[in-house]
Amino acid sequence: MQFDPFTIPFDIGLYFILIYAVVRCVRWFMDLSRPDKLRLQRGFFGRAFGQSIREIFMESLIHRKILKSNPRLGYMHMSLAFGWFLLILFGTIEADIFGESHLNAPYKAIFFKFFNPEHGSTGFEAFFAFLMDLILAFILSGLFLAVLKRFSSKVVGMKKTTRLKPLDKIALTSLWLIFPSRLLAESFTSGTYGTGSFLTGSLGSWLASFLPAEQLAYPFWWLYSLALGVFFILLPLTRYMHIPTELFLIFARNSGIRTGDQTGSYSEIQTYSCSSCGICIDACQLNFSAGITNIQSAYLLKGIRNNDNVNDIAQNCLLCGRCDKKCPVGIELTPIRMIRRRIGETEKEKTTVLKRYLPDRKNIVPVKSNDKQVYNFLPAVESEKTDILFFAGCMTHLNPAIKNSMIKILNASGVKYKFLDEKGGVCCGRPLMLSGQDKEARELINYNSKLIWKSGAHTLVTSCPICYKVFKESYYLDVEVLHHTQFIKMLIEDGSLKLNFLRKRVVYHSPCELGRGSGVYDEPKDVLKHVARLEKTDFEDDNSLCCGGSLANMKLSFRQKSKIAHDAAAELTKGNPDILATACPLCKKTFSSATETHVADISEIVAEAISLVQIKRNSGKKYFSIKESADIL
């Protein structure tokens, strides 16, 4: 039996973290709602299992998504995670083949060199020793990058790195010590016995030439074991908890579990899965345009983990969804933020170390608003019967050009429609929802729902992406909701709208609520391609910018908003297009004051492109009366 007391710290750490991970997983599982439990069970024994294993390999080990978005950062994460995995895997195989027996205790694989110092001099053994050295070099190169990143985050192509707490620092130091101490321990042992491959062998013989290698090896084996043990024991208190949590998260997500709108086990799992990679910080315009550096999602999650009052963080955000789309772990950042907005202010809880190892189940009851109806002043619902409803929305009413263009388009194409909020309507409810006031929002939603339902319409067209999103997601109506760009595309395709081609160069800004928020990316661009020359920008689709005017943020000052708008507009108009096109009245308004370039909604461009013949044929007088009223405006 090979044994040495220096392996004890490692053993304690390892068994502690294994047992701990199991306890935590069981607790999370118990806290899932009943349907989610069933989902997870089904997922675990079904097709989702294979998917999860593949995802764990691709994302938790290889870090494919980080590699894609930032190769250097990706390499750093990959070399540490995948390298360590390989080291353990091949270490175990090595110990199994060349060790004194099969199926060894883990410490024998980890400290193989110590127990078999003469291993690795010839033939197949040497090949294995070479392999292990190669993996170690791979890890060390990543570690080197990580250390550099701590001191200057620019090295890995990041603008900001995440801030640390003291315990994180100890854990980080022990993590950093693991591989260098292994390198030195193995080198000293190899130097003494004249074994080891290109890395430990050469370093070892060189060190042994002027140092007492035999005496020095043992302390470094201790250091190696201690570093491992300390890291494992501190792991639950630090951000490295994301390593075991992410595995659970991947299984849960592939089983079909989603955040929803309540705090619960799944959102807790997600808050612990954040690796603090900092990609969300780099993606955030509040960071790189407005200089606000404490509200990004990584900090939100950290605040939630520490039981801080995160209300201010949760509120000061555009909810643009850029971070959400880019998070390589796939944490549903926007829903988590919405949940915190509904919860509002909380007391900061005092925590003990024990409590941090086993946090309480969190059942935060949302602040109750008094139950009185707020909007009982609204008039009784009356609606005329129609097939197609057009809802302009508050923001469109502030942009008469968009409203009039839509009327022109609808009339020219000859569809039968009713203008639901011609004389001004009730807000769609989304702004209240975004500020966490669901109950009030529901009142408005119910009111508008009745209006729409009574009209008997089968299609609801809106010009505002904010309205579009809430109609689609939170109104339980049996109508087809279309954004006007989708509707215009339909009109073009079925031939009811004949358009001229305008000789203009256009770039398209995808509004957050329409693009990332609702997944409508292609229709607006298809329409634009039909009437003008659409050019690409550096910020397309998922990567599009926020105009800064988002209704989701009430905390930004006028100046900060306009800074964001200026920066975004400057990026989009780099190629000097004739028109900066968008599909949202709010984006249009925000950009209009932020750039010299002409800003227009797609409906305006389309209205301009309508051929005169068609206007005369389909609308006759009606259009001209509208035109007159437009002139007066």
Partner: protein, 114 residues
């Protein structure tokens, strides 16, 4: 009492010494742009809620500053947070935050806005 077809008016002076202006203070501290309001009424003119009922943000701004909180408390929840006022305000007052902070200030004293 004999109905003469008219009555005495109630006293209408405002006593600033008695008015509680802490709600205004709460807002000033957190949303400095509230000080910029010139009571032009642009917000009230465009207001979505104002289209249906007698609700005026301009009036609310004045009342808050004067410390006539009771009236504000009755009115302020009628706002739909639609954001039109913020966009038209010529002074760049972050109006929606003013409204939200006022509600929050009431809530913190345990007298919810009605």
């Amino acid at each position: 009492m004999v109905d003469f077809g008219f009555s005495l008016l109630k006293a209408r002076q405002i006593n600033y010494d008695h008015n509680d202006r802490s709600i205004a203070g709460y807002i000033y501290e957190r949303e400095p742009s509230f000080r910029l309001c010139i009571e032009c009424g642009g917000c009230s003119a465009t207001c979505t809620t104002g289209n249906f009922t007698r609700f005026s943000l301009r009036e609310i701004n004045i009342l808050i500053k004067r410390g006539e909180n009771e009236e504000v408390r009755h009115e302020i929840r009628k706002c739909m947070l639609c954001g039109k006022c913020t966009l038209v305000c010529p002074r760049g007052v972050n109006t929606r935050n003013v409204i939200t902070l006022a509600k929050e200030a009431f809530q913190k004293r345990g007298i919810n806005a009605i």
